[in-house]
């Protein structure tokens, strides 16, 4: 039986398949492009009517008033405050868990604890919002009352705490990966000099993995900045300049959600304003992601 093994027929099919696969992968670029295009083109319309100077310098955000003012600062302070609270919770707890899992826990305990903690990242954020509003806030109100602090029913503190609990797995898991990537020989050197496990963890492993850990923290931060539902439910929606976590306040994300909850008035300045706010949010998170990515690549290259 003669067969021509150089036949082109299957090769053409192969080529077609490769094109389909490429198209699927290239869709990721199209999506990023689409996001940038939509957000920027609406933001440009916005800045056609509102000066960029007012956007960055005014401290009043009242887009729904008769005389609307568009200063992004109140929303940014809200985002900043809730994110700081989240980090204050998630960084210590996440790093404790990471050091424990990476340097102390038995492989068996690690196999059990790591996935269970990851469930925390899988809880829908709307459920977290409910939890912040109806569990954490009453708890804090009772805990803070003896100190004379009156916590309003909506506040950035409880939203931030719950956000922190949500990002613990992100920080713990990525930091642990960074620490486990530190070569065994470095630990052995430290042990040989008589250091305990804790001393080795804190003075050898931790510094060696610090860029990866910093990357993990920034990724967690980026998630907190972009989180919407927890703050929309538990932090109130007042865009005021925030100076204390016990205040209520609106974040950039909460503002976007709040406008969307009404009938979005397509084509108006208010409609464009959510894209301007979205642009600020996108810029913030993309910068964070870029830094995190660069830091994590550095620690990967080191060993």
């Amino acid at each position: 039986m003669d067969r021509d093994f150089t036949t082109k027929r299957t090769r053409l099919g192969e080529r077609a398949i490769e094109l389909v696969l490429f198209a699927a992968a290239a869709s990721a670029m199209a999506i990023i492009g689409g996001i940038l295009y939509v957000v920027l083109s609406e933001a440009v319309k916005f800045f056609g009517q509102v000066s960029f100077l007012e956007f960055v310098s005014s401290t009043t955000w009242t887009p729904t008033f008769d005389k609307p003012q568009y200063g992004i600062a109140p929303l940014l302070t809200g985002t900043f405050m809730s994110t700081m609270v989240a980090l204050a919770v998630a960084v210590p707890l996440g790093l404790l868990v990471a050091v424990y899992l990476s340097e102390f826990a038995s492989p068996h305990a690690r196999e059990l604890i790591k996935p269970t903690l990851e469930l925390l990242a899988g809880v829908p954020t709307v459920v977290y919002g409910y939890f912040a509003l109806l569990f954490i806030t009453p708890l804090l109100q009772r805990a803070l009352a003896p100190f004379g602090i009156v916590l309003p029913g909506f506040n950035l503190l409880s939203a931030g705490i719950v956000m922190g609990l949500m990002i613990i797995p992100t920080i713990a898991s990525l930091s642990e990966d960074a620490m486990r990537a530190v070569p065994r020989t470095m630990r052995d050197g430290s042990f040989a000099l008589g250091a305990t496990r804790l001393e080795t963890s804190l003075r050898v492993v931790f510094p060696a993995a610090v860029s990866g850990i910093a990357g993990a923290i920034i990724l967690g931060m980026s998630r907190a900045v972009g989180e919407t539902m927890i703050v929309a439910i538990a932090a109130g929606q007042q865009p005021v300049m925030v100076s204390s976590p016990t205040q209520q306040g609106a974040t950039v994300t909460a503002f976007i959600a709040q406008v969307a909850l009404g009938d979005i008035p397509f084509g108006t300045l208010e409609y464009s304003s959510i894209f301007a706010a979205g642009m600020a949010l996108l810029a913030l998170t993309l910068v964070f992601n870029f830094i995190a990515f660069a830091l994590q690549r550095r620690f990967r290259e080191a060993y």
Binding site: S27, I32, P92, E111, I113, G122, F131, V225
Partner: protein, 375 residues
Amino acid sequence: MSAEIIHDIAAHPKGLKLRRFKDTSFIFWGVIATFIGLGTLAALVGQLIHDGGYRLTLDFLMSFPSSDPGEAGILSAWVGSILVILATAFIAIPIGVLAGIYLEEYAPKNVITSAIEIAVNNLAGVPSIIFGLLAVGLFVQAFGFGQTILTAGLTLALLILPVVIVTTREAVRGVPQEMRQAALAVGATKWQATQHHVLPYALPGVVTGVIIGISRAIGETAPLILIGGLTFVAFLPITRPGDAKFEVIGAVDEYGAPVTPEASESVRIAQDGVVVLPDFSEMPVHAGQVVDLPHGATVQTTASWGDAVASWLPAHWLGSEFTVMPIQMFNWTSRPQAEFLEIAAAAGIVLLAITLLLNGMAIWLRYRLRRSIKW
């Protein structure tokens, strides 16, 4: 002096007891931190069950939302969630898996490939609400898909695409090179080797990623709020036999008034029912009857089994307006009355049960995978 030093070397270094105590007590702190995480999960479940557990009845699952919290349920919400997730999966799984295969098996090392990789990495970090902005600007406004299940499915598909791509890549990367070489050596083409030899081994890993992505899509609220997922939906996108069925004659505007009021159409009635004319007068009709109906008239019949089955076609429900579980829960959470908070909690239990179950499944699969396959 020198004798003392020799003596000291044999003895424990100074302060060793304290250092060892610090070392062991760190385990305590590590465990405490872990338990704060796990305790949160327990408190969360406990709070939801305490608040809304008693409202979680079959009636709750089978009722439409209502302004009376005692009668409200999540029927339209869970049906909506299932349909939106179906659309999401149908879009995200093929694109995500194919993209993952391309990046791992086919992609040449060049500028385009690294651009795609950067895009995937950045996409994973874009806040979900930004996808909502994309959906409003592109799908609702520019493409005119409206505030429909199709728009919601597309949006969530884009949102979970990075998850599916990244896990597919990891799974494909885990298949040893020998599998490919063996297939190629006996004459398989690259795609044949990929399809028949790499993919089957990568499948459990791919499934894990898909489950995690789907679970994320089920709980996602923010982008759907932007699209305009409704909070009060007293109808199902699919029809049940016996449901009332409405068919409007001619085109009507958003207030239900006919666009061309003078026109009429000759309609053949398929089932016994009632025709409501534009002036609200009613007229009984019978199956087989042929009537001239003015635009704006509505034919009311009951859905048959045939109608019900036909309504399962995606073409029927993709264009329907919708609500989903997280939006329903959010809506009830933001109301001041305590009764609504109770049903919000009940909806939360359902939502949490589904997502934790899916996440648990993914974890179990990954665990099994790590144990059973030793290359």
